[in-house]
């Protein structure tokens, strides 16, 4: 896989532990104190494997990211300095969606590591992020993109059983002309 260096850096910053947890600093944890909604800084096994088997082994280039990319939009805010915890959560969300896209697009073998709770957890995180970002006028514009991601992941969540049953995903999706 070839990936932009800045994107690789962005994803690499997650540093999952062996328990697949994404560690947070004390300051970062402050961002999630006063909310009762659950947020989980846990990677699925798919994402964990992808992190070490694909992402860290990928070749990088120096291309710029598209201005319309959600990553650029996140970087355009001051989330990284003001709310590092939320910044990390968005990092995790984008990473997990990226991995899902990679599976559908490039390497279907990783799909078998998904467990039934993985995509619902990702969606819960997305909803949490929407709820959180919606409270700030400066970050509110991110919500619409996250909502679209929520729906997109939801489609796959409902079809995960089907995808897992497929012995050959390319065949199952063949009519889509990927």
């Amino acid at each position: 896989m070839e990936i932009s260096l800045s994107v690789a850096d962005y994803f690499m910053a997650l540093y999952p532990t062996e328990q697949r947890q994404v560690p947070l600093t004390t300051i970062a944890q402050e961002d999630f104190k006063d909310r009762s909604l659950p947020v989980t800084f846990l990677m699925s096994e798919t994402d964990y494997r992808f992190y070490y088997e694909v992402l860290r082994e990928s070749t990088v280039n120096w291309s710029n990211i598209d201005d319309e990319s959600i990553i650029t939009k996140i970087w355009s805010t001051d989330l990284e300095t003001q709310y590092p915890g939320m910044y990390k959560l968005l990092d995790l969300i984008v990473y997990e969606v990226f991995v899902l896209d990679y599976i559908l697009d490039t390497d279907v073998t990783y799909i078998k590591y998904y467990k039934s709770g993985d995509l619902p957890r990702l969606r819960q995180n997305i909803r949490y992020a929407c709820d959180w970002l919606g409270d700030y006028r400066a970050y509110r514009f991110l919500v619409e993109y996250l909502r679209e991601l929520d729906v997109a992941v939801g489609y796959s969540e409902n079809q995960l059983g089907f995808l897992l049953r497929s012995t050959d995903l390319r065949y199952s999706l063949g009519k889509l002309n990927f």
Partner: protein, 550 residues
């Protein structure tokens, strides 16, 4: 593009005549007015306004400015030997008058051209990068002097654009057409239905065209694409960056079916990642020492293997399968997917079945055949059940993943080991009766048609809950009881290893052949694969890709 000497650029206007005269304005005009007329006619009727448009009208340019001041005489009364505005305005006037007098309608243009007297005037606007062939408008050329500003000459030139200077004039264009425009011979036939598909010679035959395939593969190699994902399909290729470990493993099995008899697949798969990382293109000498060892050459790929490899890699994206190599392809498929092959032709399926009947091959127990005899014999190896048991109960993260369960399922379905029931009857050194019963139940839960894919999902969830409730230590019997108690579907199906003798319902795990159809399954009262399943992954893919844009 303005005129340039390589270092500086001229940002002004100039006149050029076809006789070679080039008049550069030393001082830019003080105003340039460019107007594009519109040949629109408006009829103001009572109810509405009607417009008739004929496009662009006259394109006129009016420039006005001054050429500078008149010269001042020196003490001797003679003019300084410099070019002054006075000189320039005369030069400009001469140019314009030469142009105006060069062509008259009383003399034909052709004769004027022949005489060399007719000149065209080009107006260069270097600032805007335009050059126009112009004629003087009826206003023509005006020079004005004013008592308020006695030293400067101001001019106004009004021009009509008659063409773009970058295109040749009508007189310079030939309309002669070489060759036959309407040949008398019958037109050459063209293959309207011919559509070249990569790797497939549609005209010659529907067979796989290895030559074209290697050609296109070479093309991709040149373009640094590692492999082709959707070979043979319409649309552009999409590339897969690297082979996944499972693909490498499958490939390896095709190439070396017999060379290496005992082979550590697990470590090979693990190490295959290093091969791809190192960008090595060959896996020929894996575990065989260095390249150049004796025997390496004999393991080179033959041309005949290409299609097999191809089919292994790309599975069912191949449109046409060569029947002769189908036997081998079937072996590949069987190796890859265990006994989940459910579409076999009669010819190839009877041989393993007969082999089973003769007892020469113990491995083929339930090869997806429709025969009652084969289905009634479900053989479960003890070691596999032990593996299953430990895999599920000792899993560190509190539950078997879907991957574990599917692997387990494949292992059990392949049935390549000893007879479980026979072992239990004869030898109970490994397991007591209660445990064996329990394992049997485990088997029926985790495999076969007694549990669908969704049941396994439930199973996993229940297992998770149960493991949490007892602090991570799971007792098999009590768990199974609780599981069957909470899952009536399993209960109803009366956990039974011989349940598969019914063999009527579609095995969820084998439903791949129906995956793009919406089959209504009467027994479960649901569609095997709803229509939405065809588009849902695509929706996910495109939406996410559009937002991420990585």
């Amino acid at each position: 593009m303005s005129i340039s000497n390589g270092r500086d650029q001229l940002q002004r206007v100039a006149f050029e005549m076809s006789d070679g005269t080039f008049y550069k304005f030393a001082i830019n005009p003080q105003s340039i007015t460019e107007s594009y007329g519109a040949r629109n006619i408006f009829q103001q009727t009572e109810q509405a306004i009607q417009m008739q448009g004929y496009g662009q009208g006259l394109h006129t340019i009016v420039i006005s400015g001054t050429t500078g001041v008149r010269s001042i005489g020196n003490s001797n009364g003679t003019r300084k030997d410099v070019t002054t505005g006075y000189d320039r305005i005369h030069e400009l006037r001469d140019l314009i008058l030469t142009k105006l007098n060069s062509g008259h309608d009383t003399s034909s243009v052709a004769s004027s051209v022949a005489e060399g007297s007719f000149v065209t005037l080009t107006f260069h606007d270097f600032t805007d990068g335009n050059s126009w062939i112009v004629e003087l408008n009826t206003d023509g050329f005006q020079i004005a002097r004013d008592v308020n500003n006695p030293l400067s000459y101001t001019y106004t030139i009004s021009m009509v654009v008659i063409g773009d200077a970058s295109t040749p004039a009508t007189s310079e264009v030939t309309w002669i057409e070489l060759g036959n425009k309407h040949p008398s011979l019958t037109p050459t036939a063209t293959y309207t239905g011919y559509e070249y598909k990569y790797g497939k010679d549609t005209l010659a035959s529907d067979k796989f065209d290895a030559q074209q395939y290697t050609a296109s593969a070479q093309q991709f190699k040149m373009s640094k694409k590692s492999t082709i994902d959707n070979y043979g399909q319409t649309g552009m290729y999409s590339n897969t960056a690297i082979l996944s470990p499972s693909e490498v493993l499958a490939l390896y099995k095709v190439v070396y079916p017999d060379i290496i008899s005992t082979f550590d697949w697990a470590s090979y798969v693990a190490s295959s990642g290093y091969f791809t990382r190192a960008k090595l293109e060959s896996i020929l000498d894996y575990d065989e020492g260095n390249a150049g060892d004796s025997g390496d050459a004999s393991k080179d790929l033959t041309n005949l293997s290409i299609q097999q490899i191809f089919q292994t890699l790309y599975g069912q994206t191949v449109n046409d399968i060569d029947i002769e190599s189908y036997e081998d392809a079937e072996k590949v498929h069987q190796t890859l997917y265990g006994s989940t092959v459910n579409d076999l032709n009669v010819k190839t399926s009877t041989s393993p079945y007969q082999a089973y009947e003769n007892g020469t091959i113990t491995g083929v127990t339930d090869y997806g055949l429709s025969s009652d005899k084969s289905k009634s014999i479900q053989i479960i190896p003890v070691s596999q059940l032990q593996l299953a048991y430990s895999s599920i109960y000792n899993s560190a993260d509190g539950g078997a993943s879907m991957s574990d369960l599917s692997d387990l399922y494949s292992l059990m379905r392949s049935g390549s080991l000893a007879n479980y029931q026979a072992t239990v009857k004869v030898d109970s050194t490994n397991l007591d009766a209660a445990t064996s019963t329990q394992l049997l139940q485990m088997y029926s839960v985790t495999s076969g048609q007694t549990a669908s894919a969704s049941d396994i999902g439930n199973y996993e969830a229940v297992l998770q809950v149960y493991a949490n409730s007892v602090g991570g230590v799971v007792d098999g019997t009590s768990f199974l009881n609780s599981y069957t108690a909470t899952n009536s579907a399993i209960q109803q199906e009366s956990i039974n290893a011989n349940q598969q003798t019914t063999g009527t319902s579609i095995n969820q795990w084998e439903a791949i052949t129906d995956s793009t159809q919406a089959n209504y399954v009467q027994s479960t009262a649901e569609y095997t694969n709803p229509i939405v399943s065809q588009t849902a992954p695509a929706y996910t893919y495109y939406t996410a890709k559009n937002i991420l844009r990585i």
